[in-house]
Symmetry: C2
C-alpha cells in the first residue's frame, strides 16, 4: 500500500489539502480524491503532476 499527499496550487504555492490519499477519480470537470479514512475532497481542478516516488499529487484550479 502506498498513499499520497494531495496539494492544490493556490497563489503559486502548494497547499496540502488531503493526506493518505488512496484514490483519485475524474468526474466530469471535477476531481474527487479519497483517503484511507474515507475522507473525500471534490474540487474543480485538474491534475498537474503525480509522483509515485514522492507519493505526491499536485492539483491546479480550473481545467
Amino acid at each position: 500500500m502506498c498513499e499520497a499527499s494531495a496539494y492544490l496550487i493556490q497563489d503559486g504555492k502548494e497547499e496540502l489539502i488531503l493526506e493518505n490519499v488512496d484514490e483519485l477519480h475524474k468526474e466530469g470537470e471535477m476531481i474527487k480524491i479519497i483517503n484511507l479514512f474515507g475522507d473525500q475532497r471534490v474540487l474543480k481542478a485538474h491534475i498537474k503532476m503525480i509522483s509515485f516516488v514522492d507519493n505526491k499529487i499536485v492539483l491546479e484550479k480550473g481545467r
Copy 2:
C-alpha cells in the same frame, strides 16, 4: 517507493501501456508518463482514475 501500471482505455477495454510508472505530468493537452527505467510515453489523453491501493493509472483518449 511505489510504482504504478498505466492503462489506456481502448474500445472499452483497459490496455497496459507502461509498467513501473514513477511520474505523471500534464503538459497542455498531453499526458506524459515516465517509468523507473526512464521509458516515457506521451499521449493525448486524460486521467480517468488513479488508485494508490492498486498501483493503477487509467487513462482515456481525448480530454
